[in-house]
Amino acid sequence: MAKQILTDVVVQLNGTSISQNVNSVELTTTADAIETTAFGSAGWRTYQGGLKSGSVTLALHNDYASTALDSILYNLFNSIATVTIFPAGTPVGTSTPKYEFTALVDNVAPVSGAVGDLAVQNLTWTITGAVNRGTI
């Protein structure tokens, strides 16, 4: 597929799939822009890449049932979790990659919403270490 509509994204936390409670996911990686401007740069600033970092943002539909999403997240609070995202689903292949990394679960939102709203958790976690893109 040249273009793709996201429907079957798989999101795993420590190997457990939470995909069916995930409404949206965003993995962002950035690198520091280290300025290297010097005389002779023809009046233009120049940069090179520095330290890399990332974050993952999840929009989740909460489930308070025993061993369901809420308990999974709350038990991970203030710990490091392995997050694996399969944007094109499984199995992994050259055109169905996976992104794997560890993140600091430094925030959870067990209750969020007004009367009549769907119970949600909108979370952004800081990635600690490398983000690996795998195709096998």
Binding site: T7, D8, N21, V22
Partner: protein, 135 residues
């Protein structure tokens, strides 16, 4: 995974707890009031990845006879109330899993209180919007 028919029947079963109110899980040709008719308005797919959740919006039309306009309105008022044994909202939410077929449901609002023409007969009716979350 719930079928639309199962969700309709679940709503109708909850409505059947209201004394004297007939229920129809599908649209009847000739309704016999007072009757609550369950109609599907909208389906929103892919609310979660891997078809984890679908959102269904049903319209429950409650129709009462209009032989005596004053008593018809009084009866419909009872159905529109937020409390009491005739409250449609309370009845639908009496089992929010609709017999175990839905994640949850809520009656969000009542609209379109007024006259309706069905098979050349004028009735008094009100419409209740029901939001159902299911797989």
């Amino acid at each position: 995974m719930a079928s639309i028919t199962e969700l309709r029947e679940g709503i109708a079963a909850n409505l059947a707890t209201i004394p004297g109110l007939r229920t129809a899980a599908t649209i009847p040709d000739n309704p016999n009031p007072p009757i609550a008719i369950v109609q599907l308005n909208r389906v929103q797919y892919h609310q979660d990845f891997k078809r984890g959740m679908t959102e269904y919006n049903f319209a429950v039309q409650v129709v009462v006879g209009r032989v005596d306009e004053r008593s018809a309105q009084q009866r419909l008022d009872l159905y529109c109330s937020s409390t009491g044994e005739y409250a449609v909202g309370l009845a639908i939410e009496s089992d929010r899993t609709l017999g175990g077929k839905a994640f949850d449901c809520i009656v969000t609002e009542m609209t379109n209180y007024g006259s309706v023409l069905i098979s050349d007969v004028t009735y008094l009716a009100a419409e209740f919007n029901v939001r159902v979350l299911a797989s």
